[in-house]
C-alpha cells in the first residue's frame, strides 16, 4: 500500500505539525507534543472542560474536533494506539478552567487505561468524570452494550457535551448529557478494503476482490458477516435494519443520520448510501434532522462507510443544533 509519508516513526508528529500549521485554531501543546488544544485557551472561560483522545489514523477524529462548542483539548497516540498517560494528563490540564473535566473517548483498552491513570494522578487537583463511546452495535450484543467499542458516533457526544459546557452547565450535567448522547447513538460500518499501519509490511486485514465485511471495526476487528459485494441499497437497508432493531429505549421520532467514509470511499458513494438510509428512516416515521455526510472518522485509506443514528430528544436536539466551530464541523 502506497503512502505519502516520510519515516513511519515521524508519521504522527509530522501530521500534527501540518494539522496545526493549516488550522490556526488548533494549537499543539504539552511536553509530549501529543496534545491539541483550542487556540483561544479554554482555561479562562470558566466552563467545564471536555477532553478526548485516541490513536492516530482516524482524522478528523480525534484532534480535529477541538474547537468552540466541541472539545477543549485532545490527546493523541501513535497510529491505532492509545494516547500516553502523559498526554492524557496534559490534555486534562489544558481543558481545566476550574470547573472540572469530562473525559469522553472511545471504549478501547489502551485509551481507558491511560485516561484512568491520568485521572488518578490528577485527582487531588482536578475533578474528572468519564463517558465512553460505545456506539458500534457490531462489537457486542445489546445485553453487553457497555462492552461495545466506540466509532464515528462519538462525534455526536462531542457536539452535545461541548455545546452544553458552553452554556455554563456543571460537570455532572455535562457528563449526563454526554452519556445520554452515547446511549442514544448507534453505528454500524461496512468495510470494502483495508488500510495499513505506517511501518507495517502488511495491510490490517485482507478482503478478497469483491468481498466486503459488515460490521468490521475501524482497526480491522471482525464483523458480523463477510460476503460478496451487494448493491448500495441492499447494504444501506441491512445497516438501517440493524440500527433500528437496536433502537434505544425512548428513541422518539427524530434522528440525525451520519454517513461516514472510512477513508477511501468517495462522497459520491456516501450520498448514494445516504439517499437510501434517509428514505428508510423516514419510512419508519422518523424525522431526519441535521444529517452529516462526509469524512468524519476514518481509518486512513480503508474503504467502506459507517452509518450512525442519533435519536434526539428535547434536551439533546437543541444541543446538536447549537453553534460549534472546528476545522471539520461548523454549525451556525
Amino acid at each position: 500500500m502506497k503512502k505519502l509519508m516520510n519515516s513511519p516513526a515521524d508519521f504522527v508528529d509530522e501530521m500534527l505539525e501540518g494539522l496545526t500549521a493549516a488550522n490556526p485554531s488548533l494549537v499543539r501543546g504539552g511536553e509530549t507534543g501529543r496534545v491539541i488544544r483550542r487556540a483561544d485557551d479554554s482555561r479562562n472561560k470558566g466552563k467545564v472542560g471536555v477532553v478526548s483522545g485516541g490513536g492516530s489514523g482516524h482524522l478528523p477524529l480525534f484532534t480535529g474536533y477541538v474547537g468552540k462548542g466541541l472539545l477543549d483539548a485532545c490527546s493523541i497516540g501513535n497510529v491505532f494506539e492509545g494516547p500516553t498517560v502523559g498526554s492524557c494528563i496534559e490534555a486534562i490540564q489544558m481543558a481545566d478552567g476550574g470547573k472540572g473535566v469530562l473525559r469522553l473517548y472511545g471504549n478501547y483498552g489502551g485509551d481507558r487505561m491511560n485516561f484512568d491513570m491520568a485521572g488518578e494522578m490528577l485527582e487531588d487537583e482536578i475533578r474528572t468524570t468519564t463517558v465512553l463511546g460505545t456506539d458500534d452495535i457490531a462489537s457486542a450484543g445489546p445485553e453487553e452494550r457497555k462492552k461495545r467499542r466506540g466509532v464515528a458516533g462519538i462525534i455526536y457526544a462531542y457536539k452535545t457535551a461541548g455545546a452544553f459546557a458552553e452554556t455554563g452547565a456543571d460537570l455532572d450535567a455535562v457528563t449526563a448529557v454526554a452519556q445520554k448522547t452515547v446511549d442514544r447513538t448507534r453505528t454500524i460500518g461496512v468495510a470494502l478494503s483495508p488500510c495499513q499501519v505506517p511501518g507495517s509490511d502488511k495491510p490490517s486485514f485482507i478482503l478478497a476482490e469483491n468481498e466486503i465485511e459488515m460490521g468490521m471495526g475501524i482497526h480491522g476487528e471482525p464483523g458480523i458477516w463477510r460476503d460478496t459485494l451487494r448493491s448500495a441499497d441492499a447494504i444501506a437497508d441491512e445497516m438501517i435494519d440493524r440500527l433500528l432493531n437496536d433502537r434505544p429505549e425512548g428513541a422518539g421520532n427524530r434522528a440525525s443520520i451520519l454517513v461516514n467514509s472510512l477513508g477511501a470511499t468517495p462522497l459520491e458513494e456516501l450520498f448514494i448510501l445516504y439517499r437510501r438510509a434517509r428514505a428508510r428512516v423516514q419510512a419508519e416515521g422518523i424525522e431526519v434532522v441535521q444529517p452529516l455526510v462526509g469524512h468524519y472518522a476514518t481509518s486512513m485509506e480503508m474503504a467502506g462507510a459507517s452509518i450512525s443514528l442519533l435519536f434526539l430528544d428535547d434536551e439533546i436536539g437543541p444541543l446538536l443544533a447549537s453553534p460549534c466551530e472546528c476545522p471539520f464541523w461548523t454549525v451556525r
Binding site: 497510529v79 494506539e81 500516553t84 489502551g110 507495517s200
Partner: protein, 200 residues
C-alpha cells in the same frame, strides 16, 4: 546472588535485542486477532527503555524510570500494562540497594496484580496475565539466578502452550471468539520471547 541496577540494565538490553528480532512475528500474531502492532509497539517501548538513563539509580528507582520510559513511548494496552507492572515492582523495591532472586516470585505476582487491576482482565482470559501468573508460581522457592531464569522461561513457554487451545476473552481478540482457539495470544508470545532472552 543479588540483582542490582546493572543486572536490570543488562536484562533490558537483551530483551530489546530479542524483541527486535521477533518484531514482525509478533505483528503477524497480533494481526490474526487484533491490529497487528504488538511487535512494533514493543520494539519501540524496549528501545526507549534501553535508552533510559539508569545512572545513580537503585533498582527501585531504575524500574520506575523504565516504567516512565515505557509510558512515554506508547499508550497501547499492552505497553501501558507493561509499564503498570514495572511501576508496581519498582514500588516494592523502593529504597533497597539490591533485590534477591528469592524476592522475584513476589515481585512478578505484584506486577500481575497491578496489571489485573488496571486492565480489568482476569486470570484465564488468555493474556500476559496468565504468563506472569505461571512465571510467579514457577519462581517460588528459586534462589539461584540460572535456576530462576530457566524456570521463568519454561513457565512462559508452558503457559503459551496451555492457553493456545483456549479462546481469548479480553480486548480486541475477544471479538473473534472461538476463532482464537488454536492461536497464540501475541502478548503471551512476547512474554515467552522475553523470558527466554533473559534466561540465556
Amino acid at each position: 546472588m543479588t540483582i542490582r541496577t546493572e543486572t536490570i540494565a543488562a536484562a533490558v538490553a537483551k530483551a530489546n535485542q530479542t524483541i527486535k528480532r521477533h518484531e514482525q512475528e509478533l505483528n503477524a500474531a497480533d494481526a490474526k486477532l487484533g491490529d497487528g502492532d504488538t511487535g512494533g509497539m514493543l520494539a519501540r517501548v524496549l528501545g526507549k527503555m534501553a535508552e533510559a538513563d539508569l545512572s545513580e539509580a537503585d533498582p527501585g528507582t531504575a524500574l520506575t524510570r523504565l516504567a516512565k520510559a515505557a509510558t512515554v513511548a506508547t499508550g497501547s494496552s499492552l505497553g501501558t500494562l507493561f509499564a503498570t507492572g514495572l511501576l508496581a515492582v519498582g514500588r516494592q523495591a523502593k529504597g533497597r540497594e539490591t533485590i534477591e532472586v528469592a524476592d522475584l516470585a513476589a515481585f512478578v505476582a505484584s506486577a500481575r496484580d497491578a496489571m489485573m487491576e488496571r486492565g480489568g482482565a482476569s486470570l484465564g482470559d488468555k493474556t500476559v496475565l496468565d504468563s506472569l501468573d505461571a512465571i510467579a508460581t514457577a519462581l517460588q522457592g528459586k534462589t539461584s539466578p540460572t535456576e530462576a531464569a530457566d524456570a521463568a522461561a519454561q513457565a512462559a513457554a508452558d503457559a503459551l502452550n496451555t492457553f493456545r487451545s483456549r479462546p481469548n476473552r479480553i480486548g480486541r481478540a475477544r471479538m473473534f471468539g472461538d476463532q482464537t482457539i488454536g492461536i497464540d495470544d501475541p502478548g503471551m508470545l512476547a512474554v515467552m520471547h522475553l523470558a527466554g532472552a533473559i534466561a540465556e
